[in-house]
């Protein structure tokens, strides 16, 4: 097994009356990407704040690269890069000055920091705005600059808290590309997101948190297979009243039949070869199949199955991402900040 680079073990944390974490554990092997997935207020940011030395848990342990975060925060800070959910930039400095400052404070020489900053500004397509004051940046530009700041010292362990929240689709793709390049270079990454497709696209493993607890943990594929939410739909050439009886044993559950008796549908466990088995059974019963479709569950379905609740505002599956109110609304993120206590 690869070395564990990030480890959370039984983390508890409350801010006043609000319980942000109620026993969260997970670990990230070296060189892999963990997606911490959950709705607003689930405790994702709190977990990141603890692992990045910003907050102390009420109970539990945290480790980065084998170093105890609580006992040796200063050592951990030499190894991590952090892009927080609220862009942590100096509004009165230019983009370039921000990066150089972060570089210098991380122990880089000024010249070295300037060179690296120029490269990152190019990478994140901020070169044109590099010498403008950050106060005038758009939200997307700030997030990209914040990401650049987290990469400045090429840290082996990265924490990105909702790195694409508030980005337009083009910037989002750009950030995804950068993240993919990073993970190819051996960086260990913890990424929090509310976007299921983002976790699906970038993460090797996904930990789903809700109400301060881990409710599922696995690869994107495992999580999809675990939920019984694949769907099969069969269209017959002619109405066949006995068709439902034929396929019922194969799908192991309720089969619903459309009004004309032409279309049959059922929720199924996604099993290999299911479509073949269904067609063969119907054929043997003398019925012609016009069309058959087995739809794999999306992570939205998984999330719904796990939490019994949909992502707020995200009510039409994978098509709605990035546009629903729960994602981009400043009110929603302020609510999470409040419930997770960004300031003591």
């Amino acid at each position: 097994m690869a070395d564990t680079m990030i480890e959370a073990d039984g983390l508890f944390k409350s801010y006043g009356e609000t319980r942000a974490l109620a026993g969260v554990s997970f670990s990230v092997p070296a060189g892999s990407v963990l997606g911490l997935l959950g709705p607003n207020g689930a405790g994702k940011t709190t977990a990141v704040r603890i692992l990045t030395t910003l907050a102390r848990p009420d109970a539990g342990q945290a480790g980065v690269a084998g170093i105890d975060v609580l006992a040796h925060p200063a050592a951990v800070r030499r190894l991590i890069g952090v892009a927080a959910q609220d862009a942590t930039l100096d509004g009165l400095l230019t983009g370039r000055q921000n990066l150089v400052l972060v570089g210098e404070l991380s122990g880089m020489r000024t010249g070295q920091a300037r060179t690296r900053a120029a490269g990152l500004l190019e990478l994140f397509e901020l070169a044109d705005a590099a010498d403008r004051v950050v106060k005038g940046y758009s939200g997307g530009m700030r997030r990209r600059l914040d990401l650049a700041a987290s990469l400045l010292t090429r840290p082996p362990v990265l924490f990105l808290d909702e790195p694409t929240t508030g980005l337009d689709p083009v910037s989002r793709q750009r950030v995804w590309e950068v993240i993919r390049d990073l993970t190819g270079s051996g960086v260990t990454l913890l990424l929090t997101t509310q976007y299921l497709d983002e976790a699906d696209a970038l993460a090797d493993r996904i930990v789903v948190v809700n109400h301060g607890q881990v409710i599922a943990d696995g690869t994107p594929r495992e999580l999809k297979e675990r939920s019984r939410s694949a769907h099969v739909e069969v269209t017959l050439a002619e109405p066949g009243p006995e068709a439902a009886g034929v396929i019922a044993p194969l799908v192991g559950g309720q089969v619903s039949v459309s009004a004309h008796g032409l279309r049959l549908s059922a929720a199924v466990d996604s099993a290999p070869g299911l479509a073949t088995a269904l067609v063969r059974a119907l054929d043997q019963a003398g019925m012609l199949v016009d069309n058959i479709e087995v739809r794999q569950p999306s992570l939205d379905d998984v999330f719904f199955a796990l939490t019994g609740a949909q992502i707020p505002g995200d009510n039409n599956g994978s098509g709605a991402k990035g546009t629903s109110a729960g994602h981009a609304g400043p009110g929603a993120s302020a609510a999470e900040r409040e419930s997770e206590g960004a300031q003591p």
């Binding site: 030395t53 480790g63 170093i67 040796h72």
Partner: protein
């Protein structure tokens, strides 16, 4: 259950990860100082209290009160007031430290600093150094304005510089008190009220503007033991300017140089550790 989380940094390499050498500390302070100076350059009106205010005060005090206030022991009011104006302006300008730190704590940038492997006190020290540099600018403005309206000193250059240095050192120590206030303020606005509630009375209940001889007894006692009085009297003594406080028996007025140094050291020794404790407390969650 968690063998991966070891108390590892026992070995030399890990210790090197944690320690900040003197050179690194200095570099961090320089970076933070530069950041604060860039802030000032973006909003030059921030500098009005060390540029416009001293000019205004100098002109106002000399032409409004100059004729009306007799100096016990004789001498010109212009020569008398200059040290007082310097102390007044530098004392009230430390408000900028309180406001600046309170503002920093409300910006996301403080979380960035907290995840960097920097020497944390550089946030405070960098602020105080930047404020000392603006205080130097303030001193220069006061001196030039004073010379323009007729302030003269017969003291040698070393004594003149020593006078400015004493007042600047006092302002530096006071900026750490302001830092404590800024670190305990809920907002930059409430940090600003510190100026009016504390700094203005501190500057005015002193011998800076008027000789204390004419004050009621209790007020005179307060004024004679006010550190601003000691600092002002020390500068007057070093510059060979009229110093009516020399005839007052209170110890700080008899030994103003020693007294102002003692005040500054004492204030610094109390306020600086306190400020770093407040900083740690404000940034712990």
């Amino acid at each position: 259950m968690t063998p991966a989380i070891a108390q590892r940094p026992r070995d030399a390499a890990a210790t090197r990860l944690i320690a900040h050498g003197a050179a690194e500390r200095v570099r961090n302070v320089v970076s933070m100082t530069r950041r604060n100076l860039v802030h000032i350059s973006r909003e030059p009106m921030q500098l009005s209290d060390v540029t416009i205010q001293p000019v205004l005060f100098t002109v106002l005090f000399i032409y409004l009160f100059g004729g009306a206030i007799p100096i016990p022991g004789g001498g010109s009011y212009t020569d008398f007031i200059l040290a007082g104006l310097l102390a007044l302006n530098l004392t009230t300008s430390t408000m900028g430290t309180a406001v600046g730190l309170a503002t920093d704590l409300h910006e996301g940038i403080i979380d960035r600093f907290r995840t960097l492997p920097m020497w944390r006190p550089a946030v405070l020290v960098g602020r105080s150094v930047a404020d000392l540099l603006t205080a130097c600018l303030c001193a220069l403005v006061v001196a030039v304005t004073g010379l323009a309206v007729g302030w003269r000193t017969s003291a040698g250059p070393l004594r003149v510089v020593a006078g400015f240095a004493l007042v600047l050192f006092f302002a530096y120590s006071l900026s750490w008190v302001a830092a404590c206030v800024g670190l305990n303020s809920k907002s930059p606005e409430s940090a600003a009220s510190f100026g009016f509630i504390v700094l203005f009375p501190l500057a005015f209940v002193s011998n800076a503007m008027v000789p204390t001889q004419h004050m009621p007894g209790w007020l005179q006692a307060a004024a004679d033991w006010n550190p601003v009085s000691a600092v002002t009297a020390a500068a007057r003594q070093l510059w060979d300017n009229p110093n009516p406080s020399a005839s007052i028996a209170a110890w700080p007025m008899q030994h103003p140089i020693e007294a102002s140094l003692a005040w500054s050291v004492l204030i610094l020794a109390v306020a600086a550790p306190l400020a770093s404790r407040y900083f740690r407390r404000r940034t712990t969650e």
